[in-house]
Structures are given as C-alpha cells and as structure tokens.
C-alpha cells in the first residue's frame, strides 16, 4: 500500500497555488489529505502531480465578517474549528458536528475546505454548510466567485468548482436571535462515516413560530441534501406532530444507497428518526436561547 509516483509542488500562498494549478492542469490540490492520501496509498488515486496547500498560510484562519457572520479559511484545520470561540458563538452547529469528524489525529490535519471540496456524501461538514446557508468563496486566476452551498454539491464527489478553481473560504451568515441547531448522526463506530445524519437549524419569530427551518441530511443520497420538507414548518408552531410529519416527508423523498453497513430501508428509517430528533432539539434550543 504505497502510493504511485507524482510530482510535488508546494504552494507558499493562495496566489502561488493558483499559479501552480494553472501551470500544471493535471495537478490535484492537496489539503489535509485524510481522504486523498489513503486513496493514493490504495492506488485508487494516482494523480500525476500534487499542489500542496498546507504551506499557504493565507488560506487558513477564522474571522468575524462585517455582516455579523464568520469566515473560515479553506485550509483551517478541523481541530482549529473545533476549538474556536468564534465558531462556538456564531456557528454552534458546526462546532457540534466537529467531534463526529473521524478522530483527533485526523482533525489535526483535515481541513474545512478539503472536506467541502471532497464532497463525500457521508461527510458532516457539507451537511452543516447546507443547513447554515453557507456561501463558498472560490478563486481561480480569472477571479473570485461566490457559490451558495445549496448549489455547490452536484453529485457523487462532484462540486460546482471548475478546473483550476480553488475553494478559498467559507462564509457563514449572521445568526438571528432565537435560533437553535442540532447535529445528530448514527455511525457504526464514533468517527466512522455516518450511516445517516441530520443537521437542523431553526429560527423562531417573536411569537415562537418557526421563521426559518433548515434540515440537511447526509449519507442518504449521492450528495448531502437539504430536505425541502422542512419548509413546511415555516410559519407554524413547532409542535411535535408538525416535526414528525416533516421528518416522515423527508424520509419519503429519499432513495438512499445501500452498502454493507446499512441497507436503503435502514437508512430511510435513520433519516426519519434523526431528522425528527434533530429538529426537536434545535427547536428546544431556539426556544431556550
């Protein structure tokens, strides 16, 4: 299990990385590597060249953005996100999901941007990004563009990024008052790929009715998905039966893949149960805070 040969380019900055990628169209960007390097060790992946982003210091960091949200550089490691006070205060959902991302040693190396660009349908971060209505900042030599999370994941391991384009940052919008969120997943063992997971983010209005509801599901399709069924909650009281029927509707819209750990029927069941529990918890937290 040794990787095949490749040419190695170390990018010292974002500009350097974009130049290298433009110069070597057959190169693959290397972020933290927890998905790409195992694939290379199995020789599933045999890129001709790598552009290593780890030395590009300007790609990492967490800051508050003028609009009240936060911005996370793509090369920010999961461990930094997990420890960040800004994330705790402004994106508790992301913080809650972090411990589910593999194991401590992987989180010390893996990055937020890498996780999003890899677009694994079972990964936690992409689901959270959908639930939080995140915006992704992509940059190429031709310029910068912003892509809404809901437009970003286009298929199995497929994203809206163009060749030569790098995901450089994630922008999370400001958090409205009376918001609550919850992340739940079922995995075979803690840290494994989720068999199914649900990220819920809910905002209540002054009367306690639901003003905004997002429910993202992971590991139940070829990509992370936003359950349209959650829209039905808007304007309603967050009652148990309303949540229950949203979870059921979300389940009914699924045609999940089967694998050796979970057949499709089980995944649908998990999606429903986790959706219900996550929404319930998010509503409870929104009401409390």
């Amino acid at each position: 299990m040794k990787p095949a040969t490749f040419i190695y380019h170390r990018a010292s900055s974002l500009d350097d990385a974009l130049a290298l990628l433009a110069e070597h169209p057959d190169a693959k960007p290397l972020a933290g590597g927890p998905s790409l390097i195992p694939a290379m060790n199995f020789r599933l992946s045999q890129p001709a060249a790598l552009v290593d982003l780890n030395a590009a210091g300007d790609l990492s960091g967490i800051s508050q953005s003028p609009g009240g949200g936060i911005r996370i550089g793509a090369m920010t490691r999961h461990a930094a996100v997990e420890r960040s006070d800004l994330v705790r205060d402004f994106a508790p959902l992301l913080r809650e999901a972090m411990p589910h991302v593999a194991h401590p040693q992987i989180r010390n190396r893996g990055t937020i941007g890498g996780s999003i660009a890899h677009a694994d349908p079972s990964a936690e971060v992409p689901g959270v990004m959908l639930a939080l209505d995140a915006t992704f900042v992509a940059r190429s030599r031709g310029g910068e563009r912003r892509i809404a999370a809901r437009d970003f994941f286009t298929g199995l391991f497929a994203t809206a990024l163009e060749p030569g384009e790098l995901l450089v940052a994630v922008e999370l919008p400001a958090r409205a008052p009376r918001s609550g969120s919850a992340f739940l997943e079922v995995a075979r063992r803690h840290g494994d790929f989720a068999l199914a997971g649900a990220a819920a983010d809910v905002t209540l209005d002054a009367r306690g009715h639901i003003a905004r509801a997002r429910l993202a599901l992971i590991s139940v399709a070829d990509r992370p998905i936003l359950a349209a069924a959650a829209d039905a909650l808007v304007g309603r009281e967050p009652a148990e039966d309303a949540i229950r029927s949203v979870a059921e509707a979300a389940r009914d819209a699924l045609d999940p893949p089967a694998d050796i750990h979970a057949d499709a029927r089980y995944r649908r069941q998990l999606a429903e149960v986790l959706a219900r529990r996550a929404l319930t918890q998010a509503v409870r937290r929104a009401s409390a805070g």
Binding site: N41, A79, P104, R109, G191
Partner: protein
Amino acid sequence: MQTLSLTVNGRRIERSVEPRLLLSDFLRHDVELTGTHVGCEHGVCGACTVLVDGEAVRSCLMFAVQAEAARVDTVESLGSEHALHPLQEAFRDAHALQCGFCTPGMLMTLVPFLRDHPSPGELEIRHALSGNLCRCTGYANIVKAVALAAERMREAGAAPGAAE
C-alpha cells in the same frame, strides 16, 4: 527526488527523498526510528501516530516532503528504558499494553491530549483514544493508565507551584 530538512526528536535532519515517500516510512527506514509502527496505511489504526509541530497526526497520511521545516517527535523522544516518561510508567503499572505494537501510537496521541487536558474524565479519555486501535487489551487498562498518568503528572506539576 526532493530535498527535505526537518527536526526529528530535536535532531536536525536533511535528506533527499522521493515525494511519494510516506512520513511513516521515512521515520522508520530512513531515520531508523522504528518505534513508530505501521498498521494500516490508510489512517484508521493510529499505530503510526507522531507529533508534527506538537500535534498528533497519522504519519501514514503525510508525505515526508510535507514535513519540511517541521518539528517531528516520535515515541523515541519520550523516556528511556531506565527512565520512563510518566505516561509510559503508568502504562506499565496499569498493564495497558500486551503485544505493545499499537502502544507507541497510543502514547504519541496521549502526550498532547494530557498537555491540553490535565484532568480528563473517562469518556474524554475514551474519545481521545478512539482513533487508536488496540486488539489486545480491550482498552480498559489503557483508560486506567491515562487517568493514572494524568494524576501523577498533575502532582508532579503541582509540587513546585505549591509554594506560591
């Protein structure tokens, strides 16, 4: 080939390596620090865990060239046979190892964990260990050893400060 210069266990090392050489193989075969073990080479078992700039990472999921200018510490940087590190001592006292193959990775995971969590609870310890597989011990004694080490390290650390 790519030149590589880094610090391993405090020693400055310069080598020329193939870019595809895994950090685990570099440490074991080029630097001949065979205490770092290799169990899966796909980032699950944790046997190859080392510190890169003070944080625990899988050395099978890094290319050696990525450790350019880094500070790498392996199990050999802890205690010696006759002067064990408190964590090693606790592992011995609590019978936290059997075949001992996973042990170096466990230790290198736990050193920064105990630095950041001087008084860990059992569940915290189990979470910290969840990325290191052990097939022999059933983990119970490892958990005990970590608690024991934490206690001893707190006491040792608290002693000089007790006068303040």
